[in-house]
């Protein structure tokens, strides 16, 4: 009966990935720094524009930090009668297209603006014209910045950082926050663009277990009924999230799922066993959703590896075997295979993200040492299915 349905949750939406909490434990210093970088916008907007980089590993709070900052900044600006807009775009969702990213920004002001009939450069000019007309300022966050560079090359960033050069004596209206996992991508930019960006980097350190406990405890009190989540449970979740590279997203998702298991088993408290059940269910799903972040050739390489394991029923593959499987996949998708050294880099990324694990094994065959590859905690069938679906969109 509906009236007897009970739940450990008070408000599940507080565990939603899009929820932006008011307080961000262990990110106050970074939030203050960001606010400091943009303090001019409240006092002398138009006198300058800012370019900031936020970098940090998966689930280190980059997205939520920039969004919290955006909300705070626009609220402060509104109080002072400054027409400031915070526009957050996930570049990957726009397939890294500068045009679509800029279109999104323009559509904030003109929702029914036509989608064709002009180039990305013209669109940039249009955006500036719109901002001039409305005396508006924009902080544009380019989240998952890597996608933009991959798709458009460094030119796109060049255009975005140099636009003031054609607007002498006009107010500066567009500031940028570039969000990325790894600063390495900046090396692709031309020297002067790179140096502008590199001078304002906010680096988010991995969360420690203790820090994760604080973050999770806050969410527990927002989302769960009192006394339903014991300390031990939070601690176990923090341990697991910490072993996942300090990934707070993983921790919050685990917390939510553990709550679901408690409800399903009709329990009054979320027990550690609920966490363990949730963890084993989550691994497969997480690996799959992470696959969307991989570059084209990383996906192709991983697909090769997945096929190898699916077809051979072996536990380990040598690098040469993986490379062979990759070459076959490239042929199928009609793309030119990358070099051996590139594959090494891909392998490193894939193992950093956790899709594969690698080990160096001694004295196999004639060469002294060789690298072996295996799939931890994920079925090759599942992985193949997911990658094929993703690649059909890509290619």
């Amino acid at each position: 009966m509906m009236s007897q349905y009970k739940s450990v949750f008070k408000d599940e939406t507080k565990l939603d990935i899009n929820y932006v909490p008011y307080k961000l434990p262990h990110r106050d210093r970074e939030l203050r720094l960001l606010t400091e970088f943009f303090s001019f916008i409240l006092h002398a907007p138009g006198k300058m524009a800012q370019r900031i980089v936020i970098a940090g590993d998966v689930g280190s709070g980059k997205t939520v930090l920039s969004q919290r900052f955006g909300m705070n900044a626009t609220r402060e600006a509104e109080k002072r009668g400054i027409n400031l807009h915070y526009v957050h775009v996930n570049c990957r969702e726009y397939r890294g297209s500068l045009f679509l990213i800029l279109y999104h920004a323009v559509s904030v002001f003109h929702p029914s603006f036509p989608k064709r009939g002009y180039s990305a450069e013209e669109l940039l000019q249009i955006l500036l014209q719109v901002l001039d007309e409305q005396d508006a300022y924009v902080i544009l966050t380019l989240d998952e910045f890597e996608s933009l560079i991959e798709r458009e090359g460094t030119e796109a960033v060049y255009k975005l950082t140099r636009l003031q050069e054609t607007r002498v004596n006009k107010p500066q209206r567009l500031s940028l926050i570039c969000v990325m996992r790894n600063l390495k991508i900046l090396e692709k930019l031309d020297a002067s663009t790179r140096s502008t960006l590199q001078s304002n980097v906010i680096h988010l350190e991995k969360y420690s277990k203790r820090q994760l406990v604080d973050i999770l405890s806050d969410r527990v009190s927002l989302a769960f009924k009192p006394l339903t989540v014991p300390e031990d449970t939070v601690s176990l979740i923090a341990d697991i999230a910490s072993s996942e590279g300090g990934n707070a997203r993983f921790g919050i998702e685990l917390l939510w799922r553990a709550g679901k298991y408690a409800d399903a088993d009709d329990l009054n408290v979320v027990t550690p066993e609920c966490v363990r059940k949730a963890a084993s269910s989550i691994y497969a799903v997480m690996r799959k959703s992470e696959a969307a972040y991989l570059s084209l050739h990383e996906k192709l390489f991983l697909l090769g590896i997945a096929r190898f394991f699916k077809e051979s029923e072996r536990a380990y593959a040598s690098l040469a075997e993986a490379e062979q499987a990759y070459a076959v996949v490239c042929e199928e998708f009609n793309v030119k295979p990358r070099s051996h050294t590139q594959l090494w880099k891909y392998l490193r990324t894939l193992s950093a993200v956790g899709f594969v694990k690698t080990e160096v094994s001694e004295n196999i065959g004639s060469r002294g040492r060789s690298t072996i590859i295996y799939l931890p905690r994920i079925s090759a069938h599942e992985l193949e299915k997911e990658l094929t679906a993703l690649l059909e969109k890509d290619v």
């Binding site: 003109h110 009939g117 007309e133």
Partner: protein, 92 residues
């Protein structure tokens, strides 16, 4: 133009209705929605603008039309359309 002349055109009335509904649109999109060609749409837009009912802004090659917010004529026409459409809904 006299009122009877301005309002004697189906296309012009459709333009007004579309813009009341959407807020602002570019010429090709208006043409598509009122089911007319670009040239005649442009002409009707110009007439409505000259009469103070519409206004437009230019962004590169794009022209965005909307009701002329500051014009009593635009407000009167908008009123007329809204009351009319509302009454029609009630009948059904």
């Amino acid at each position: 133009m006299k009122l009877e002349d301005v309002l004697s055109s189906r296309l012009r009335i459709r333009i007004i209705k579309v813009l009341i509904q959407v807020g602002e649109l570019n010429v090709s999109e208006i043409a598509r929605r009122i089911n007319a060609n670009y040239k005649s749409t442009s002409m009707h837009l110009k007439i409505l603008e000259d009469e103070g009912v519409l206004q437009h802004k230019t962004y590169g090659r794009i022209r965005l039309y909307r009701l002329n917010q500051s014009s009593p004529r635009a407000r009167a026409v908008q009123n007329l359309v809204e009351i009319w459409e509302h009454a029609n809904k009630g009948e059904r």
